[in-house]
Symmetry: D5
Subunit: 122 residues, 10 copies
């Protein structure tokens, strides 16, 4: 089951504002309605204040959703709130891109804080 | 014939504003003038307030246009108004991209509410 | 329902062997199991002997499958045999490429006569 | 010779502002200097007020330039003013993209009214 | 655990040789060494003799590898032998394409019977 | 009207066999049935024996089809026979690729002499 | 040596503001340090006030740099100032894109006047 | 070890503001945690005030990171501050794009001064 | 320095012939003439007889070239002979693709045994 | 003027047959008819017997055509014969790809010796 306890953080290497983007193209969870797996990509983008998320722990956190039944909209908002709670960044954005189901492919964009306008499209 | 009664909705999983995008690349209707089928893609994009559209019901709604004679401009505005009426979103946008006819391909963009500028191009 | 009576033909403009390819990216039929529409592209390739298929009649023939419940494998073989029966070409090949269903996309290749090796992959 | 008399129009299907885009990738006219044909694509984009241009008549209008000797800059501004005069849209934009001549390819952008900033690049 | 009992088959719709290709871009299994998930695409290509594999059952068969610890080379050869045993096709080919690990991405090609030369590269 | 009298030739610069390919992406003629213009690309490929076609004269020859009503299949075979008659090459191939009409795009391949197998697909 | 005397101009065909873009993908000059040729593409973009640059004369002007030893930054600013001096446009922008040297590829953007924000990235 | 002493500079060829962009697609350093090499691309973008960085010295500076153990976030901020300190540009931006590790690829964007909004996404 | 002692092998999971391909897009060595780093991709393709190369050990083997001064042609032939000596495969092929130097990019293909014709181009 | 005296060679590092390919995307010469520059790419492919061409000398050899007036067909055959004369390879192939002139782009393929069929298309 998804668990944010695996997340680890390190001190930001700069006191100047900068932007970090991690794109995971190997995300999978399970549709709670049909029980079939969902496949997607997750883009995490944020401006750190004090800490940055460690990359390997982020991978493990994403892997903890592997057998979880959860909707597109819910997984996106959950990842967003888990990371915001743990890092208190200047702003943070989570974009999920899901492979087609029934001919329809989807993108969900959740944000926290004042994401600069240039990033608003995801 | 097109019918918005098949649409189903579920409560939004977050009280924070977020964006949902569903792209259907398998839309077909019929040209009312020639009787020949038209083929296109439909992008739906919106910020939910209280409810989100359920994906399978959205597919069925789109399929209900399959044998309907209707112009590009009309189908785009109809989908927009049907969904706005049913969901009352913060804002909503419908973009249709039509395969070429006579060497000309077309895109129609209908909107409701204050669509943020970054989305304005469709 | 599919009907090969709409097909029209014209005399080949050359007595030298040559190759004709028509790619229709707007094919749709219906899945006989689920009732949902299938979308695909159909490539027809052949070397005419006496006659060539007229392009507009070919379009109408393809459109006659629009509301027909028929499997991928069956529609491919049917189009192949309908056209071979009507044209008696030197060789003929029908390739159907279907958009994904359940994360799986498919291609079916039916042939008649000695299709040169360079075309064998579709 | 180019003739805007072939253009036909129909009433806009919505009283909400929306955007229409027609891309013709099969435009050809003649260079008035060399007599050689020019080939290009024409993008028409506008927000209708009362009427929309009918697609087939637009095709015929474009075809009327086929044997006309006219410069890139002139054809772009002429199409723009012809359509504005006939439709009185909220705004309108004509973008022509010309295939290379002497290793140089060109784009001309003519506009009328307050084209929203997102469209300004063509 | 992987199970070929979910596979279902239907009679081939033609007694002429033809080729079927199913591409699943959503395959995942687990690395038996590290316990981390592997992600890849599986292309199945074959010429049926008596039966064809049913598409939904094929999806379920692939899903049964989801939590199985198994090497690239083994999963490829296992899928190949499972399907050959069940269908006895004229020839059959399984190609797996794995996303990069440590900067290296891999492809494995297993075959059964006389795969025509044009398909040999996968 | 099409005229092969504009074609000019120069002596081959080598007595070793070599291959020449000229791709014209700006071809247009007229559909004899509808009167509407057709647009396409023409690939000419050959192994010269004594002479090569001069590039500017080839352009003029292609332009002479601009207002000619002629079918895809006929224009392809005519260009092939005009050039073979004038140059007597070791082998020659003409491939025409036509933009879509009614959702169907077409390719015609005419050949003369023993075109090596690697070129057979056009 | 580079010479702006070859440039010719014609009167703007419209008194409405419009945008002209010419992209030359065949620019070459010489590195003044190594003597080796540099290859790049030059995008010229401007809003004419009274005159437009004639396309063939622009090509000749670019060709006059062929054997000139000049740095990336200098050639970009020189072309910009030469054209501004000659045309007095509302605004003008010159973007040069240089093929890689030592694994590094470069872009230089020089501007004159108030280039609208949408063009600022080149 | 990384050394900014190799950097050389030359006087800006213009007193008008202009933009310089150098993209190095051949950057490599070492992960300080695992000892494995990291591979990425580095985009440097700036508006010079008095001096520009010389291209070959920039290459040598980048090469000095080859065997240095340093995190993504740190190398990006270090390159940014080294160059700002040496050049005092109007503004400067460093974007690093790293190839995937464990299925996740990353981009870091560090800036100094008022980078115009159009460049903010990197 | 390059060392084949890090290579590890495992028993082939099948006694049927099959093909394995590993593509490493993160290879770097050093030019023995200039001392500057070279960057490239290495494709290894083979049909195992008794053993397969273990993926992580292959990565370490490639990394051992990181600071080695060695020419394109030599590194390609060395990797080929090291792996053939250690695995005695049915056939094996090594293709190296090198990023451009001085505007020229290169590919070297070394082989051992009877590589099937379909693979001969690399 | 073109000069093969700048070419240098080194001993082949292997007595096994292998293939070398060098692609130069920055070739330019001059049209002897119009005096305008021609731009193209040159692919050299060969199997060395005793010697390989040194890369930097190859670059200088290509640069020696920079201001030479010479036709496409002649430059291709000349480079082929110059290199064959100097290296006596098992086989050698020169492919030139020229940017469009008058809407027509060209490829010339010259060969020496028994080029394996897989390479015959260039």
């Amino acid at each position: 089951m998804p668990t944010n306890h695996v997340l680890e953080f390190f001190d930001s290497p700069s006191d100047q504002p900068f932007v970090i983007e991690h794109i995971n193209e190997e995300f999978t969870s399970v549709c709670p309605k049909t029980g079939h797996p969902d496949f997607g990509a997750i883009t995490l983008r944020y401006e750190p204040l004090a800490v940055c998320v460690e990359l390997k722990s982020l991978k493990l956190y994403y892997q903890s959703f592997r057998n979880e039944g959860i909707f597109y909209e819910a997984v996106t908002n959950r990842i967003c709130s888990d990371l915001v709670e743990a890092m208190s960044p200047a702003w943070l954005q989570v974009i999920t891109d899901w492979r087609g189901r029934g001919g329809i492919r989807s993108r969900i964009i959740a944000t926290s804080g004042n994401v600069p306008a240039v990033w608003a499209r995801g």
